[in-house]
C-alpha cells in the first residue's frame, strides 16, 4: 500500500468502516510512514473532539410527559 492508497481509505479506517484485511494493510503502512501516521492522528483527534466537546442535552421530565400525553391522546382517539 502506498500513501495515496492509504489516504483514499483513511476516512473509512478512522470510522471503523474498513474490512479487517484492508485495515491490517493500512496499519502496516502506518507503522512505517510517519507522514501518514500524522494524518491518522489528526483524523482521530477530530473525532475525539466531536464526541467529547459537543454539548449534550437531556430531555426534561416535563417534555417527556408532554410526549406521553400527546401519544396517549392520539391512542385514545384511535381505540
Amino acid at each position: 500500500m502506498n500513501c495515496t492508497e492509504l489516504l483514499s481509505m483513511l476516512q473509512d479506517f478512522v470510522d471503523n468502516e474498513l474490512p479487517g484485511e484492508q485495515a491490517n494493510e493500512l496499519n502496516k503502512h502506518l507503522a512505517d510512514c510517519p507522514e501518514c501516521e500524522k494524518k491518522r492522528q489528526a483524523a482521530m483527534l477530530y473525532k475525539q473532539v466531536m464526541v467529547s466537546k459537543m454539548p449534550r442535552k437531556n430531555c426534561a421530565e416535563g417534555i417527556k410527559n408532554g410526549v406521553h400525553s400527546a401519544v396517549a391522546g392520539y391512542a385514545s382517539t384511535e381505540a
Binding site: L10, K38, K39, A42, A43, M50, K53, M54, G66, V67
Partner: protein
C-alpha cells in the same frame, strides 16, 4: 412490511423500544433546530408519528435509527416550508454534483492546540453554520456514531454519497473551526504539525 399489532402490543413496543431513546432524540432535535421550544415540538411530532406508523417498525431492529429517520424527515419538511428551499430533487442533484466533485479533495487537518482553544459552544456553532445536509451527516456520524449503512438509510442516499458528503462536511467544519481559533488569536498554520508529533 406492515404488521397487525393490537393496541396493548403497540403500547408495549413503544415503551420498550422507542421511549429509551428519548434523550438521544431530544438532543439530536436540539442540534438541528437550536431552540428549546422547537426541539420539544419536533420531538413530540416525531414520537407521535412513530406511534402512528409503529405497525411498520420491525421489532428488535434499530429503533434509534428508525426514530432519527422520522425526526429528520419531519425536520426537513418543516425546514423546507420555513426556508422556501427548492424541491428535494433539485437539492439532491446539486449536492450529488458537489459530493462527486469534492470526493477526492484533500483533508483539512487541525492541530490539537486549535481544538484545545475551542469550547463546546463554538464547535456547536460551527456545526450549526453548515448547510443542513452537511450538518445532518456530521451529527449522525461524528456525534451520534451511526455507521455509514445506517446513515444511508436515515438520509436516503447511497453509501458512496454518505462517504463523499461526510468528507466534504468535515473539511467545511474544520475550516470554520480554524476561523474561530484565528479570531481568538491562535495560530492555525498547518505546517507546524500535530501535538502528537512533539
Amino acid at each position: 412490511m406492515k404488521q397487525d399489532l393490537t393496541k396493548p402490543e403497540r403500547d408495549r413496543l413503544f415503551e420498550a423500544e422507542f421511549l429509551p431513546h428519548i434523550d438521544a432524540l431530544y438532543n439530536f432535535a436540539s442540534y438541528l433546530v437550536h431552540d428549546d421550544e422547537r426541539a420539544k415540538d419536533l420531538l413530540q411530532e416525531t414520537y407521535l408519528r412513530a406511534y402512528k406508523f409503529i405497525n411498520y417498525y420491525e421489532k428488535g431492529t434499530n429503533a434509534k435509527a428508525w426514530l432519527i429517520r422520522i425526526l429528520k424527515n419531519t425536520f426537513i419538511n418543516e425546514y423546507r416550508k420555513l426556508s422556501k428551499q427548492p424541491q428535494r430533487v433539485d437539492l439532491e442533484e446539486t449536492y450529488q454534483q458537489i459530493d462527486d466533485t469534492e470526493s477526492d479533495a484533500q483533508n483539512v487537518d487541525l492541530r490539537s492546540e486549535v481544538y484545545n482553544a475551542l469550547v463546546g459552544d463554538e464547535i456547536m456553532n460551527a456545526v450549526n453554520a453548515l448547510p443542513v445536509d452537511y450538518r445532518l451527516i456530521v451529527l449522525l456520524c461524528d456525534v451520534e456514531g451511526f455507521k455509514y449503512d445506517e446513515i444511508a438509510q436515515i438520509i436516503d442516499v447511497p453509501i458512496g454519497t454518505v462517504r463523499s458528503r461526510l468528507h466534504r462536511a468535515r473539511n467545511m467544519l474544520k475550516d470554520k473551526l480554524k476561523d474561530y481559533a484565528r479570531k481568538k488569536g491562535y495560530d492555525t498554520d498547518d505546517n507546524k504539525g500535530t501535538e502528537n508529533d512533539k
